[in-house]
Amino acid sequence: MIRFEKVTKRYPGPGRPALDQVTLDIDKGEFVYLVGTSGSGKSTALRLVLRELRPTTGRVHVAGKEINRMAGWKVPRLRRQIGTVFQDFRLLPNKTVTENVAFAQQVIGKSRREIGKVVPETLELVGLKDKGDRMPDELSGGEQQRVAIARAFVNRPMILIADEPTGNLDPATSAGIMNLLGDINQTGTTVVMATHDHGIVDQFTKRVIELDHGKVVRDEASGSYGFQH
C-alpha cells in the first residue's frame, strides 16, 4: 500500500537529510507505528505519503502509484484515498461537528444525499451520534479528536495517517482513540501512526518502524516503543 524505495529527502540549506535512503513497505490493512525522536523524519515521511513533499531521490509508491512524478492535477484524487488526523485536531471552529465532517465530503463534490447518509453513520462509528449539533469548543479534547477522525474517515480512505493523534490527550482518552483507530483498521484501512507515546505503543502492540536521524533503525512486526523519551 505504501512503499519507499531508497527515499532521501533533503531540505534547502546545510545539514543532514531529513530522510536518508529509507526503504520500507507497508501492506494493505496493516497498522504501523512510526516512532522516533523529534527531527527523526516521521513527519517528513508522512508528508511524502500525502505528496505534500517530493523526495530528493528515491521513489514513493502509494496505493500502487508512484507519486513523486505524479502530475499536480492528479494529487487531489490521491488524497481522497488518504485520511489525515493531527495532534491539534484542526477542526473548523465556526462549524458544528456534523458540518466539520460533512465539509470533507462537500469539497470533493459528494451529493447532499450521500452526505446526509454517510456523515451520521460515521459519527455513530466514532461515538458522537448525539453530538452532531455541538460546536468544537463545546467538546472535550478526546471528542474533538474523534470528530477529526470522523472527518478523516468519512470518505472511507484506503489509508489513514495519524500524526501524534494522542499527543494532547490523557491516557484514558488516548486508549479510546486507539480503540477507534483499531476499529477503523479492522475495516481494512491501512493505518500509519506517528507517535511519541510509548505507553500507547507498548499497550496496543503493532508493527513498529523506528526512525533515527532520517534512517530506519528498527522495523519489528510486533514491537514496543523501544526507548524512553
Binding site: P76, R79, R80, G109, R112
Partner: protein, 315 residues
Amino acid sequence: MQLRYVFTELRTGLRRNLSMHLAVILTLFVSLSLAGIGILVQREATVARDSLGDELKILVNLCTDDDPSHSPNCASGEVTADQQQRIEKEIADSDEVASSAFQSKQEGYDRAYEQAQRNNTQAAFEGPDPVVTVERWPAAYWVTLKTPERADGIISALEGLDGVSVIKDQRKALGQIFGIMTVLKYGSWIGAGFLLFAALLQVTNTIRLAALARRREIAIMRLVGASTLYIALPFLLEALVAAVVGVALAAGVLAAFQYWGVEKALSDHVQFLPWVDWGDYTQALIGLFPPGIVILGPALTLIPTLLLTRKYVKV
C-alpha cells in the same frame, strides 16, 4: 461539484472583506471610467479624421456644373478630364505633398451623408427633391502633406488652376482639436493606468487577506483532496463580483457621459464635428483593440487572482 458550498463561501468572503472589496470596486470603477473615456476620445478622433481629414490633409474640391463657389476657375462648368490631369500633375510634382487620393462624387456624397446621419441633419439629403445630390457634390483630392507647416506652395499652385473650386485648409483649427483630443486621450489613459495599477495591488492584497482568513479551510480542503479549481473558485468569484460591479458602474458613467455630455451638450454646441455615437460607446465597452472595459475589468481582477491562488492554494 457542490456549488452550494462555493456560493456560501463567496457570500462569507464578500462580507468578511467588505471594505477591501469596496476599495477594489471604487478604484476599478474610476479607472475603467477613465479608460472608457480615453477610448471614446480616441474613437472621436478617428470619426473626426474620417470625416474632416487630419491636420496633415487639405481637401481640393473640383468644380461642378453650376459650382456654388462662383470661382473663376469654374467658368467652364464641370471639371474636364484635361483640367483634372493638370491638377493631378501639380499635386504629384509638389515637394510639399506626401501623397494624395482622389475622392469621387459618390464617395464624397456617401461620406457627407453618413456624417449628416450621425448628427441627425440628413434632411437635405433626403426627400423627393433633395438639396444635396451626388451630381451636385464635388469630386475632390485629399492631399496629405509631408508636414502640416508647409503647404503654401501647393495651395498657391492649385488656387489658380482651372477646375479647382475650393481648397479647404483646416490645418490650424483641426490641429488644435486633434491636439486637445490627444492630450485628453493620453491624459485619461495615463490616469487610468495608474489607477488600474492601484486596483491590481488592491486585488492582490484582498486575495492575500482572504487566503489568510481561509487558511484552515484551505489546508483541510487540500488534505481531503479538493481540486485546485474548487479551492480557488470562491476567490475567483469574489474577484469577478468586484469586476462586474466596477464595470457596471463605469458603463453607467460612460453612458451618462455619452448621453448628457456628447449628445445633449457637445453635439448641440459644436456642430461642425461629427461626434461619437452609441456604436462607439459599445466599442468602449466590448471592443478588442483597445480592449473595452468589459474585457479590461475582469481581466485585471481574474488574472492576478488566478496567479495568486495558484500560489496560495497550491495542492
